[in-house]
Protein backbone atom coordinates (compact mmCIF):
# COMPACT_ATOMS: atom_id res chain seq x y z
CA UNK A 1 0.00 0.00 0.00
CA UNK A 2 1.53 3.33 -1.04
CA UNK A 3 1.43 6.54 0.98
CA UNK A 4 -1.50 7.97 -0.98
CA UNK A 5 -3.61 4.89 -0.30
CA UNK A 6 -2.67 5.01 3.37
CA UNK A 7 -3.71 8.67 3.52
CA UNK A 8 -7.07 7.93 1.94
CA UNK A 9 -7.52 4.98 4.29
CA UNK A 10 -6.87 7.14 7.35
CA UNK A 11 -9.30 9.82 6.19
CA UNK A 12 -11.87 7.11 5.46
CA UNK A 13 -11.38 5.71 8.95
CA UNK A 14 -11.81 9.21 10.41
CA UNK A 15 -15.01 9.91 8.46
CA UNK A 16 -16.41 6.48 9.36
CA UNK A 17 -15.62 7.12 13.01
CA UNK A 18 -17.44 10.44 12.86
CA UNK A 19 -20.48 8.70 11.41
CA UNK A 20 -20.42 6.23 14.31
CA UNK A 21 -20.15 9.10 16.82
CA UNK A 22 -23.05 10.96 15.17
CA UNK A 23 -25.22 7.82 15.19
CA UNK A 24 -24.24 7.09 18.79
CA UNK A 25 -25.15 10.62 19.87
CA UNK A 26 -28.50 10.39 18.08
CA UNK A 27 -29.21 7.12 19.90
CA UNK A 28 -28.17 8.47 23.30
CA UNK A 29 -30.19 11.65 22.84
CA UNK A 30 -33.27 9.63 21.94
CA UNK A 31 -32.70 7.34 24.94
CA UNK A 32 -31.83 9.84 27.62
CA UNK A 33 -31.81 7.17 30.33
CA UNK A 34 -28.97 5.32 28.60
CA UNK A 35 -26.47 7.62 30.28
CA UNK A 36 -28.61 8.18 33.37
CA UNK A 37 -25.99 7.11 35.90
CA UNK A 38 -23.31 9.24 34.26
CA UNK A 39 -25.63 12.27 34.15
CA UNK A 40 -26.56 11.84 37.82
CA UNK A 41 -22.92 11.40 38.76
CA UNK A 42 -21.94 14.54 36.85
CA UNK A 43 -24.77 16.46 38.53
CA UNK A 44 -23.65 15.26 41.97
CA UNK A 45 -20.03 16.23 41.38
CA UNK A 46 -21.01 19.65 39.99
CA UNK A 47 -23.43 20.18 42.90
CA UNK A 48 -20.69 19.23 45.36
CA UNK A 49 -18.27 21.72 43.80
CA UNK A 50 -20.91 24.48 43.87
CA UNK A 51 -21.60 23.77 47.55
CA UNK A 52 -17.86 23.88 48.23
CA UNK A 53 -17.98 27.54 47.28
CA UNK A 54 -20.64 28.32 49.86
CA UNK A 55 -23.82 27.83 47.86
CA UNK A 56 -26.63 25.62 49.14
CA UNK A 57 -27.86 23.61 46.22
CA UNK A 58 -29.60 20.29 46.18
CA UNK A 59 -29.15 17.58 43.59
CA UNK A 60 -32.14 15.50 42.63
CA UNK A 61 -31.42 12.87 40.00
CA UNK A 62 -29.66 14.71 37.19
CA UNK A 63 -30.90 18.14 38.28
CA UNK A 64 -29.02 20.72 40.34
CA UNK A 65 -31.48 22.98 42.14
CA UNK A 66 -30.97 26.38 43.75
CA UNK A 67 -33.25 27.88 46.38
CA UNK A 68 -34.05 30.73 43.97
CA UNK A 69 -36.07 28.37 41.78
CA UNK A 70 -33.36 28.02 39.14
CA UNK A 71 -32.25 24.50 38.31
CA UNK A 72 -29.91 22.99 35.77
CA UNK A 73 -30.64 19.57 34.30
CA UNK A 74 -27.65 17.54 33.11
CA UNK A 75 -29.10 15.81 30.05
CA UNK A 76 -27.15 13.63 27.61
CA UNK A 77 -26.15 16.59 25.47
CA UNK A 78 -24.67 18.34 28.53
CA UNK A 79 -22.17 15.58 29.24
CA UNK A 80 -19.68 16.48 26.50
CA UNK A 81 -20.15 13.06 24.91
CA UNK A 82 -20.07 14.38 21.33
CA UNK A 83 -16.94 16.46 21.88
CA UNK A 84 -15.22 13.49 23.49
CA UNK A 85 -16.38 11.20 20.67
CA UNK A 86 -15.03 13.44 17.91
CA UNK A 87 -11.75 13.85 19.78
CA UNK A 88 -11.37 10.08 20.23
CA UNK A 89 -12.11 9.42 16.54
CA UNK A 90 -9.32 11.84 15.67
CA UNK A 91 -6.96 10.02 18.03
CA UNK A 92 -7.84 6.48 16.96
CA UNK A 93 -7.84 7.22 13.22
CA UNK A 94 -4.53 9.07 13.32
CA UNK A 95 -1.39 7.01 12.61
CA UNK A 96 0.43 6.62 15.92
CA UNK A 97 1.70 3.94 18.27
CA UNK A 98 -0.86 2.34 20.59
CA UNK A 99 0.86 3.82 23.62
CA UNK A 100 0.44 7.29 22.12
CA UNK A 101 -3.18 6.55 21.29
CA UNK A 102 -3.87 5.39 24.84
CA UNK A 103 -2.36 8.65 26.14
CA UNK A 104 -4.58 10.59 23.70
CA UNK A 105 -7.68 8.69 24.79
CA UNK A 106 -6.92 9.37 28.45
CA UNK A 107 -6.14 13.04 27.79
CA UNK A 108 -9.33 13.50 25.80
CA UNK A 109 -11.70 11.80 28.23
CA UNK A 110 -10.24 13.41 31.36
CA UNK A 111 -9.58 16.83 29.84
CA UNK A 112 -12.98 17.28 28.24
CA UNK A 113 -14.72 15.89 31.36
CA UNK A 114 -12.93 18.40 33.60
CA UNK A 115 -13.55 21.37 31.30
CA UNK A 116 -17.22 20.40 31.01
CA UNK A 117 -17.44 20.19 34.79
CA UNK A 118 -16.08 23.72 35.08
CA UNK A 119 -18.57 24.77 32.39
CA UNK A 120 -21.56 23.32 34.27
CA UNK A 121 -20.61 24.81 37.64
CA UNK A 122 -19.91 28.23 36.15
CA UNK A 123 -23.15 28.21 34.14
CA UNK A 124 -25.10 27.33 37.28
CA UNK A 125 -23.44 30.16 39.17
CA UNK A 126 -24.18 32.59 36.32
CA UNK A 127 -27.78 31.36 36.10
CA UNK A 128 -28.36 32.12 39.77
CA UNK A 129 -26.42 35.36 40.17
CA UNK A 130 -26.15 36.88 36.69
CA UNK A 131 -29.16 35.56 34.79
CA UNK A 132 -28.93 38.23 32.11
CA UNK A 133 -25.56 36.80 31.01
CA UNK A 134 -26.63 33.16 31.04
CA UNK A 135 -27.38 32.83 27.33
CA UNK A 136 -24.20 34.60 26.26
CA UNK A 137 -22.11 32.51 28.62
CA UNK A 138 -23.74 29.31 27.46
CA UNK A 139 -24.01 29.90 23.73
CA UNK A 140 -21.07 32.14 22.96
CA UNK A 141 -18.37 31.80 25.57
CA UNK A 142 -18.51 28.19 26.63
CA UNK A 143 -19.22 26.68 23.22
CA UNK A 144 -16.25 28.55 21.77
CA UNK A 145 -14.03 27.54 24.70
CA UNK A 146 -14.99 23.87 24.35
CA UNK A 147 -14.27 23.88 20.60
CA UNK A 148 -10.94 25.67 21.03
CA UNK A 149 -9.96 23.42 23.94
CA UNK A 150 -10.77 20.18 22.06
CA UNK A 151 -8.96 21.38 18.93
CA UNK A 152 -5.80 22.49 20.72
CA UNK A 153 -5.73 19.39 22.89
CA UNK A 154 -5.89 17.23 19.77
CA UNK A 155 -3.24 19.30 17.97
CA UNK A 156 -1.00 19.15 21.02
CA UNK A 157 -1.43 15.39 21.22
CA UNK A 158 -0.84 14.89 17.47
CA UNK A 159 2.20 17.21 17.40
CA UNK A 160 3.90 16.24 20.64
CA UNK A 161 2.78 12.71 21.52
CA UNK A 162 1.84 11.04 18.24
CA UNK A 163 4.81 12.45 16.37
CA UNK A 164 7.28 11.90 19.16
CA UNK A 165 10.31 9.79 18.21
CA UNK A 166 10.37 6.21 19.46
CA UNK A 167 11.91 5.66 22.84
CA UNK A 168 15.20 3.90 22.05
CA UNK A 169 15.78 2.59 25.57
Amino acid sequence: MNLKDKLIGRIGLFVGGLAVVAAGLAFLTAHDGAMGSFQMGLARIAGGIINLFGAHVTVSGNTIQAATGFSLAVVTACTGVFTTGVFLVGVIAYPARWKAKLIGIGLGICGIFLVNLVRLTSLFYIGVHFPRFFNQAHLLVWQSLIIVFALFLWLAWAGRVAHAPRDET
Binding site: L3, I11, V15, N116
Partner: protein, 342 residues
Protein backbone atom coordinates in the same frame (compact mmCIF):
# COMPACT_ATOMS: atom_id res chain seq x y z
CA UNK B 1 -95.13 -22.29 -13.45
CA UNK B 2 -97.25 -23.77 -10.73
CA UNK B 3 -94.23 -24.29 -8.45
CA UNK B 4 -93.17 -20.66 -8.88
CA UNK B 5 -96.67 -19.58 -7.86
CA UNK B 6 -96.54 -21.83 -4.74
CA UNK B 7 -93.09 -20.49 -3.80
CA UNK B 8 -94.31 -16.89 -4.13
CA UNK B 9 -97.28 -17.59 -1.84
CA UNK B 10 -94.94 -19.21 0.71
CA UNK B 11 -92.58 -16.21 0.70
CA UNK B 12 -95.52 -13.82 1.11
CA UNK B 13 -96.92 -15.80 4.05
CA UNK B 14 -93.52 -15.92 5.78
CA UNK B 15 -93.08 -12.16 5.27
CA UNK B 16 -96.56 -11.50 6.65
CA UNK B 17 -95.94 -13.55 9.78
CA UNK B 18 -92.61 -11.85 10.30
CA UNK B 19 -94.13 -8.38 10.04
CA UNK B 20 -96.92 -9.22 12.46
CA UNK B 21 -94.43 -10.68 14.94
CA UNK B 22 -92.25 -7.57 14.75
CA UNK B 23 -95.24 -5.32 15.33
CA UNK B 24 -96.15 -7.21 18.46
CA UNK B 25 -94.36 -6.87 21.80
CA UNK B 26 -90.65 -7.45 21.31
CA UNK B 27 -90.59 -9.48 24.48
CA UNK B 28 -88.09 -7.25 26.23
CA UNK B 29 -88.43 -5.21 29.40
CA UNK B 30 -88.51 -1.43 29.27
CA UNK B 31 -85.34 0.63 29.74
CA UNK B 32 -85.89 4.09 31.25
CA UNK B 33 -83.14 6.70 31.42
CA UNK B 34 -82.42 10.41 31.17
CA UNK B 35 -80.60 11.11 27.90
CA UNK B 36 -78.00 13.76 28.73
CA UNK B 37 -77.96 16.98 26.76
CA UNK B 38 -75.88 16.52 23.67
CA UNK B 39 -77.01 12.93 23.26
CA UNK B 40 -79.46 12.78 20.37
CA UNK B 41 -82.50 10.56 20.56
CA UNK B 42 -84.30 9.25 17.48
CA UNK B 43 -86.45 12.34 17.31
CA UNK B 44 -83.53 14.65 18.09
CA UNK B 45 -84.90 15.30 21.58
CA UNK B 46 -82.59 15.37 24.59
CA UNK B 47 -84.07 18.02 26.80
CA UNK B 48 -82.64 18.39 30.31
CA UNK B 49 -82.91 22.06 31.19
CA UNK B 50 -82.90 24.15 34.36
CA UNK B 51 -82.82 27.85 35.14
CA UNK B 52 -79.26 28.55 36.22
CA UNK B 53 -79.64 31.57 38.55
CA UNK B 54 -82.56 32.93 40.55
CA UNK B 55 -83.19 35.15 43.51
CA UNK B 56 -84.42 33.42 46.64
CA UNK B 57 -88.21 32.94 46.31
CA UNK B 58 -88.22 33.00 42.52
CA UNK B 59 -89.30 29.88 40.63
CA UNK B 60 -86.82 27.58 38.93
CA UNK B 61 -88.06 25.88 35.78
CA UNK B 62 -86.90 22.31 35.38
CA UNK B 63 -87.59 20.48 32.12
CA UNK B 64 -86.64 16.83 31.98
CA UNK B 65 -87.03 14.09 29.40
CA UNK B 66 -87.31 10.40 30.22
CA UNK B 67 -86.64 8.03 27.35
CA UNK B 68 -87.48 4.36 27.00
CA UNK B 69 -84.56 3.12 24.97
CA UNK B 70 -85.85 -0.45 24.81
CA UNK B 71 -88.44 -1.74 22.34
CA UNK B 72 -90.38 -3.12 25.31
CA UNK B 73 -93.15 -0.99 26.79
CA UNK B 74 -93.41 -0.25 30.51
CA UNK B 75 -95.40 -2.90 32.36
CA UNK B 76 -96.69 -0.37 34.96
CA UNK B 77 -96.99 3.31 35.66
CA UNK B 78 -94.05 5.12 37.21
CA UNK B 79 -93.11 8.39 38.93
CA UNK B 80 -90.55 11.03 38.00
CA UNK B 81 -89.20 12.72 41.15
CA UNK B 82 -87.20 15.93 41.21
CA UNK B 83 -84.92 16.72 44.17
CA UNK B 84 -82.26 19.22 45.04
CA UNK B 85 -78.91 18.27 46.57
CA UNK B 86 -80.05 14.88 47.91
CA UNK B 87 -82.41 12.07 46.97
CA UNK B 88 -84.51 12.18 50.12
CA UNK B 89 -87.96 13.35 51.17
CA UNK B 90 -86.63 16.53 52.77
CA UNK B 91 -85.23 17.65 49.41
CA UNK B 92 -88.09 16.53 47.17
CA UNK B 93 -89.22 19.31 44.84
CA UNK B 94 -92.08 17.60 42.99
CA UNK B 95 -93.35 14.31 41.57
CA UNK B 96 -95.16 13.55 38.34
CA UNK B 97 -96.82 10.21 37.58
CA UNK B 98 -96.58 8.70 34.10
CA UNK B 99 -99.13 5.97 33.33
CA UNK B 100 -97.41 4.29 30.42
CA UNK B 101 -94.50 4.64 28.03
CA UNK B 102 -94.18 2.63 24.83
CA UNK B 103 -90.88 1.22 23.66
CA UNK B 104 -88.58 3.68 21.92
CA UNK B 105 -90.70 6.60 23.12
CA UNK B 106 -89.90 9.47 25.43
CA UNK B 107 -91.85 11.82 27.65
CA UNK B 108 -90.93 15.41 28.62
CA UNK B 109 -92.27 17.16 31.72
CA UNK B 110 -91.68 20.58 33.19
CA UNK B 111 -91.48 21.17 36.94
CA UNK B 112 -91.45 24.43 38.86
CA UNK B 113 -89.37 24.76 42.01
CA UNK B 114 -90.38 27.47 44.45
CA UNK B 115 -87.13 28.56 46.08
CA UNK B 116 -88.77 30.34 49.01
CA UNK B 117 -86.95 29.24 52.13
CA UNK B 118 -84.15 27.56 50.19
CA UNK B 119 -80.74 28.40 51.56
CA UNK B 120 -78.92 30.78 49.21
CA UNK B 121 -76.03 29.21 47.37
CA UNK B 122 -75.43 26.56 44.71
CA UNK B 123 -77.80 23.60 44.59
CA UNK B 124 -77.76 20.48 42.45
CA UNK B 125 -81.03 19.56 40.75
CA UNK B 126 -81.51 15.79 40.70
CA UNK B 127 -84.12 13.69 38.90
CA UNK B 128 -85.14 10.08 39.53
CA UNK B 129 -87.39 8.02 37.31
CA UNK B 130 -89.30 5.07 38.78
CA UNK B 131 -88.05 5.59 42.34
CA UNK B 132 -90.52 2.96 43.59
CA UNK B 133 -89.18 0.42 41.12
CA UNK B 134 -92.56 -0.47 39.70
CA UNK B 135 -91.29 -0.95 36.16
CA UNK B 136 -89.30 -4.04 35.22
CA UNK B 137 -86.26 -2.70 33.37
CA UNK B 138 -83.28 -4.12 31.55
CA UNK B 139 -81.04 -1.81 33.58
CA UNK B 140 -82.13 -0.39 36.92
CA UNK B 141 -78.85 1.46 37.43
CA UNK B 142 -79.41 4.50 35.19
CA UNK B 143 -82.61 5.95 36.63
CA UNK B 144 -81.00 8.93 38.37
CA UNK B 145 -79.50 12.02 36.77
CA UNK B 146 -77.79 15.21 38.00
CA UNK B 147 -79.19 18.05 35.90
CA UNK B 148 -76.68 20.64 37.07
CA UNK B 149 -76.46 23.55 39.45
CA UNK B 150 -78.94 26.29 40.25
CA UNK B 151 -77.55 29.33 42.05
CA UNK B 152 -80.05 30.79 44.49
CA UNK B 153 -79.03 34.32 45.40
CA UNK B 154 -80.18 35.90 48.66
CA UNK B 155 -82.64 38.78 48.81
CA UNK B 156 -79.79 40.87 50.12
CA UNK B 157 -76.55 42.14 48.63
CA UNK B 158 -73.87 39.55 47.88
CA UNK B 159 -70.53 41.10 47.15
CA UNK B 160 -67.42 39.84 45.37
CA UNK B 161 -64.33 41.93 44.65
CA UNK B 162 -61.22 41.58 42.49
CA UNK B 163 -58.06 43.66 42.44
CA UNK B 164 -55.48 43.74 39.65
CA UNK B 165 -52.37 45.82 39.03
CA UNK B 166 -50.78 47.19 35.89
CA UNK B 167 -47.24 48.53 35.60
CA UNK B 168 -47.79 51.66 33.54
CA UNK B 169 -44.50 51.42 31.65
CA UNK B 170 -44.79 47.65 31.19
CA UNK B 171 -42.15 45.02 31.86
CA UNK B 172 -40.92 44.25 35.34
CA UNK B 173 -41.85 46.48 38.23
CA UNK B 174 -38.88 48.68 39.14
CA UNK B 175 -38.38 51.30 41.86
CA UNK B 176 -40.16 54.58 40.97
CA UNK B 177 -42.56 52.79 38.60
CA UNK B 178 -46.19 53.88 38.55
CA UNK B 179 -48.66 51.13 39.31
CA UNK B 180 -52.36 51.37 38.49
CA UNK B 181 -54.63 49.22 40.63
CA UNK B 182 -58.09 48.31 39.36
CA UNK B 183 -60.64 47.14 41.91
CA UNK B 184 -63.95 45.75 40.67
CA UNK B 185 -66.75 45.20 43.19
CA UNK B 186 -69.74 43.19 41.98
CA UNK B 187 -73.07 42.77 43.72
CA UNK B 188 -74.47 39.39 42.60
CA UNK B 189 -77.17 39.49 45.28
CA UNK B 190 -80.84 40.33 44.70
CA UNK B 191 -80.92 43.55 46.72
CA UNK B 192 -79.05 46.80 46.28
CA UNK B 193 -75.99 47.49 48.39
CA UNK B 194 -76.69 50.87 49.87
CA UNK B 195 -74.34 53.72 50.66
CA UNK B 196 -74.39 52.88 54.34
CA UNK B 197 -72.56 54.29 57.31
CA UNK B 198 -68.79 53.90 56.96
CA UNK B 199 -66.74 53.29 53.85
CA UNK B 200 -67.91 50.53 51.53
CA UNK B 201 -64.31 49.94 50.39
CA UNK B 202 -61.02 50.51 52.21
CA UNK B 203 -57.54 49.68 50.90
CA UNK B 204 -54.58 50.20 53.22
CA UNK B 205 -51.61 50.70 50.93
CA UNK B 206 -48.63 48.49 51.77
CA UNK B 207 -45.10 49.56 52.60
CA UNK B 208 -43.05 50.21 49.49
CA UNK B 209 -45.67 52.20 47.57
CA UNK B 210 -47.15 55.68 47.97
CA UNK B 211 -50.39 57.02 46.50
CA UNK B 212 -50.02 59.60 43.73
CA UNK B 213 -53.51 61.01 44.41
CA UNK B 214 -54.96 59.71 41.16
CA UNK B 215 -58.16 57.84 41.99
CA UNK B 216 -61.35 57.33 40.00
CA UNK B 217 -64.54 55.31 40.31
CA UNK B 218 -67.31 54.45 37.88
CA UNK B 219 -69.89 55.48 40.51
CA UNK B 220 -69.91 56.74 44.10
CA UNK B 221 -67.01 58.66 45.60
CA UNK B 222 -63.42 57.47 45.83
CA UNK B 223 -60.67 59.31 47.69
CA UNK B 224 -57.16 58.95 49.06
CA UNK B 225 -56.95 59.52 52.81
CA UNK B 226 -53.36 59.30 54.00
CA UNK B 227 -52.17 55.84 52.98
CA UNK B 228 -55.71 54.62 52.49
CA UNK B 229 -57.90 54.50 49.42
CA UNK B 230 -61.58 54.61 50.35
CA UNK B 231 -64.81 54.44 48.38
CA UNK B 232 -68.41 55.18 49.33
CA UNK B 233 -71.46 54.46 47.21
CA UNK B 234 -74.24 52.17 46.15
CA UNK B 235 -74.06 49.05 44.06
CA UNK B 236 -77.39 47.98 42.57
CA UNK B 237 -78.35 44.31 42.50
CA UNK B 238 -76.53 42.68 39.63
CA UNK B 239 -74.37 45.77 39.20
CA UNK B 240 -70.75 46.59 39.80
CA UNK B 241 -68.38 49.46 40.41
CA UNK B 242 -64.81 49.87 39.19
CA UNK B 243 -62.30 51.84 41.26
CA UNK B 244 -58.86 52.70 39.91
CA UNK B 245 -56.03 54.31 41.82
CA UNK B 246 -52.38 54.95 41.14
CA UNK B 247 -49.40 54.39 43.39
CA UNK B 248 -45.67 54.93 42.94
CA UNK B 249 -43.12 52.34 43.97
CA UNK B 250 -40.69 53.82 46.48
CA UNK B 251 -37.15 54.53 45.28
CA UNK B 252 -35.47 52.61 48.08
CA UNK B 253 -37.27 49.29 47.69
CA UNK B 254 -34.80 46.41 47.82
CA UNK B 255 -34.36 44.07 44.88
CA UNK B 256 -36.85 41.17 44.69
CA UNK B 257 -39.19 42.71 47.27
CA UNK B 258 -42.74 41.35 47.12
CA UNK B 259 -45.41 43.99 47.62
CA UNK B 260 -48.81 42.52 48.47
CA UNK B 261 -52.07 43.82 49.82
CA UNK B 262 -55.82 43.43 49.73
CA UNK B 263 -58.65 45.89 49.84
CA UNK B 264 -61.66 45.17 52.04
CA UNK B 265 -65.28 45.61 50.98
CA UNK B 266 -67.68 46.35 53.83
CA UNK B 267 -71.16 45.20 52.84
CA UNK B 268 -74.64 44.55 54.11
CA UNK B 269 -75.18 40.78 54.19
CA UNK B 270 -78.75 40.86 55.55
CA UNK B 271 -80.08 43.91 53.78
CA UNK B 272 -80.82 45.84 56.99
CA UNK B 273 -78.94 48.96 55.94
CA UNK B 274 -75.84 48.28 58.03
CA UNK B 275 -72.55 47.01 56.68
CA UNK B 276 -72.03 43.91 58.78
CA UNK B 277 -69.78 41.75 56.57
CA UNK B 278 -66.36 42.06 54.96
CA UNK B 279 -65.09 40.68 51.68
CA UNK B 280 -61.38 40.85 50.86
CA UNK B 281 -60.35 41.46 47.27
CA UNK B 282 -59.16 38.55 45.16
CA UNK B 283 -56.29 38.46 42.70
CA UNK B 284 -57.95 37.00 39.58
CA UNK B 285 -54.53 36.12 38.16
CA UNK B 286 -54.25 33.23 40.62
CA UNK B 287 -56.51 30.27 41.23
CA UNK B 288 -56.65 30.90 44.99
CA UNK B 289 -59.83 32.58 46.19
CA UNK B 290 -59.64 35.88 48.08
CA UNK B 291 -55.86 36.10 47.94
CA UNK B 292 -53.80 39.31 47.99
CA UNK B 293 -52.64 41.04 44.84
CA UNK B 294 -48.85 40.91 44.68
CA UNK B 295 -46.00 42.04 42.49
CA UNK B 296 -42.24 41.81 42.82
CA UNK B 297 -39.94 44.78 42.49
CA UNK B 298 -36.70 44.22 40.60
CA UNK B 299 -33.80 46.62 40.59
CA UNK B 300 -32.76 45.48 37.13
CA UNK B 301 -35.08 44.67 34.29
CA UNK B 302 -33.92 41.09 34.26
CA UNK B 303 -36.04 38.73 36.28
CA UNK B 304 -34.22 35.83 37.94
CA UNK B 305 -34.06 32.61 35.99
CA UNK B 306 -36.68 30.25 37.29
CA UNK B 307 -37.33 26.70 36.19
CA UNK B 308 -35.17 23.92 34.87
CA UNK B 309 -32.74 24.65 32.06
CA UNK B 310 -30.46 22.24 30.29
CA UNK B 311 -27.27 23.54 28.77
CA UNK B 312 -26.00 21.25 26.01
CA UNK B 313 -22.23 21.33 25.65
CA UNK B 314 -22.46 22.17 21.96
CA UNK B 315 -25.37 23.25 19.79
CA UNK B 316 -25.82 21.59 16.40
CA UNK B 317 -23.85 24.32 14.63
CA UNK B 318 -21.11 24.14 17.23
CA UNK B 319 -20.91 20.37 16.73
CA UNK B 320 -20.52 20.91 12.98
CA UNK B 321 -17.85 23.56 13.59
CA UNK B 322 -15.91 21.27 15.92
CA UNK B 323 -16.14 18.38 13.47
CA UNK B 324 -14.92 20.50 10.55
CA UNK B 325 -12.04 21.96 12.56
CA UNK B 326 -10.88 18.57 13.86
CA UNK B 327 -11.19 17.16 10.32
CA UNK B 328 -9.06 20.00 8.93
CA UNK B 329 -6.48 19.57 11.67
CA UNK B 330 -6.48 15.83 11.07
CA UNK B 331 -5.87 16.29 7.34
CA UNK B 332 -3.19 18.95 7.81
CA UNK B 333 -1.32 16.82 10.34
CA UNK B 334 -1.55 13.79 8.07
CA UNK B 335 -0.16 15.75 5.12
CA UNK B 336 2.67 17.15 7.25
CA UNK B 337 3.49 13.67 8.43
CA UNK B 338 3.43 12.37 4.84
CA UNK B 339 5.74 15.16 3.76
CA UNK B 340 8.12 14.44 6.62
CA UNK B 341 8.09 10.71 5.81
CA UNK B 342 8.70 11.35 2.12
Amino acid sequence: MRSIYRLSVLVFVVFLFGTVAAAQDCGKDAELWFPPNGEQLDGGVSVQEITSTVCQGEPVTITTTVDNMSCGETNAGFDIDVYYDSYDAAHLIDTIHVDHLDGCEHVTHTFTWDTTGVTPGDHHVLVWVDPDNTVAELNEGNNQYDMGIVTVNPNAPLVEATKEYTDEDGGNVNPDDLIMYTVRITNTGCADQGDNSGHEFVDDLPAGVSPTGTVTSSSGTAAVVGDQVVWDGEIPAGGSVTITFEVKVDSDVADSTDICNQGIVNWDSDGDGTNDAQEPTDDPATSTDDDPTCFTVYISNVAPLVGTIDAPTLSEWAQITLTVLIALAFTVMLLRRRKATA
